[in-house]
Amino acid sequence: MQRNPQLNASGELQHLLSIEGLPREILLQILDTAESFVGVTEREVKKVPLLRGKSVFNLFFEPSTRTRTTFEIAAKRLSADVINLNIAVSSATKGESLLDTVANLSAMQADIFVVRHASSGAPFLIARQVKPHEHVVNAGDGRHAHPTQGLLDLFTIRHYKKSFTGLTVAIVGDILHSRVARSLIHGLTTLGVPEVRVIGPQTLLPAGVEALGVRVFHDMREGLRGADVIVMLRLQNERMRGALLPSAQEFFKHYGLTEDKLSAAHPDAIVMHPGPMNRGVEIDSTVADGPHSVILPQVTFGIAVRMAVMSIVAGN
């Protein structure tokens, strides 16, 4: 098999495409660097000059507000120039190929491409095409990976739980279509979390998911028992009724996080959600806004983590 395409010849992070295959040291380097940026985001002058004179192109082939905005803020806090391209409504509809689009932008002297694409693997294709000084950061590709989300989840867990060893983490909901779940699972297993659980109906669990190093539960209370961290996944509207699920209400009955189900977890458990939340579908408002919820801090940490990732790849 080929060399991991996200590492350069010295084993440093050239692109961030997936958490899978990244060594523990690189994950910790990103988390530690992010730690140092948390302070920056709380200062009055929220800027550091690390990426001054560099251009960050936000290439969003799939619409997104939240992720694009946090990348934009992160890049600006690093003093980079940010160009937002909403390709979902421009080149792609004019028939320009993905690689032509990238070649054109590359000619405009990009340093970092932040890529969101509906097809799994698209950022790998772009990473193969770009020039050696250019970097690709995956902002979500199909069902495959969302590494910065995974990293900010890891950051949040470490922030509240101090260490990864000894934790039980439960990920609940639509694992099948979730790039967030895949990225987080790889991160947790790499950092030594002894028990990672996935909870959902058979229809929302991918084939052979156990091979990723997780335990599968279909009963939510059983799966939450003693959990230190609960990660709720977003259920896409179009999947709420059909052949995968009968209805949002029925999903909530089985897998919606209520205070009652939460009581099965560890008393100090934290509740996370990558957003945007469907209140009353995967999570009850009392839990989302309750004392266990760290959903808003996740968003704040997300900026520090994205600053860390961009500054690290640009420095390699």
Partner: protein, 419 residues
Amino acid sequence: MRIHIRNGRVVDPAAARDAVADVYVADGKIAEEFAKADRVIDAKGLVVAPGFIDLAARLREPGFEYKATLESELEAALAGGVTSLACPPDTDPPLDEPGLVDMLRRRAKALSRARVYPIGALTLKLQGEALTEMGLLADAGCVAFSQGNVPMVNTQVLWRALQYAATFGYKVWLRAEDAALARGGVAHDGEMATRLGLPGIPPFAETIALGTLIELVRATGARVHVCRLSTASAVELMRRAKAEKLPLTCDVAIHHLHLSDTDLGYFDSHCRLEPPLRSQRDREALARALAEGVIDCLVSDHTPVDDDGKHLPSAEAEPGATGLELLLPLALKWGEARKLPLAATLARITAEPARILGVEAGGVASGAPADLAIFDPRAPFHVSAQTLKSQGKNTPFLGYELAGRVRFTLVAGNVVHEG
């Protein structure tokens, strides 16, 4: 042209022959010994075998000439020692009317390269709704009827099509894939697809469709050739069906014989194939079944795709791989790994496909058409865009070092390739 091929190792699977001997060619046929030849080919150290027969080679005409043409692909066939090939009907338009088939055959004949056997469409426009004029298509030269890679959605139509074909003894070649279960999928539904986040096609998409086909063969008596088996469980179904003496045969493609889903690596779009590459266990079962004869023959499933079709995220990439020039080296690699005699290995790309195709080819006996492949089984073959003659440079084997190079290819007694 009278040709004397001297001192070659003559391997004729049909006659269970493997011995150093001279072969004489006259008037387009294998001849008895004669004294005065127009040309002498020194085949010392080379294998003289029947020309290879490939039951699945897309030539991309009509309709996809930007991907490949008859000229380019028949050249590739000869470079690979393939002297007869069957081409599936999934062209644009599909081979569903006699005029198209006639034109294709004339074009191929005018080039006087490899022999081309068109497979007609089983249903109009491959839509799976109305039957084609199989009788007229057969008259135009179709050797069988197929849906190409387009699945039959309606089992009622499939049943009627098999009844109709059985009435007249036409052969039907079909892939076994349940359309609904395969819809949207691009990879084997297993650990690898889960890791890569690719929509999966479960293995039972193949066995459910194969179970249906076997029942329909039992009911209608149609002669069915099942194309491109990909799973271990389909092999077992096929084994049982054959034990029952149902009129079924089947093939496997070179890719599924040698690769598995882990070869997808980091989204290699060259591994986007139909059916998908499956698990290591499936691959092993296919390789064994081909040796045991449960799988009758090996095909290249040659599908040239242009760069625009492959330089895409793997799920969006056009499926298929070029293969005509890899048929021999990959057959040899398989035969060597299974420690088979050379004649047994070559049977899978000569005598066996000839039997399924129902043509007089695939042998080196006196009086047979002089379609020959003369090759060096040990000569290295580095697979690259430069070494491939096919217009399609798309193959998961790019960069592989294989063994087996064709030195001479003869069709109807003419030397049509020297390499």
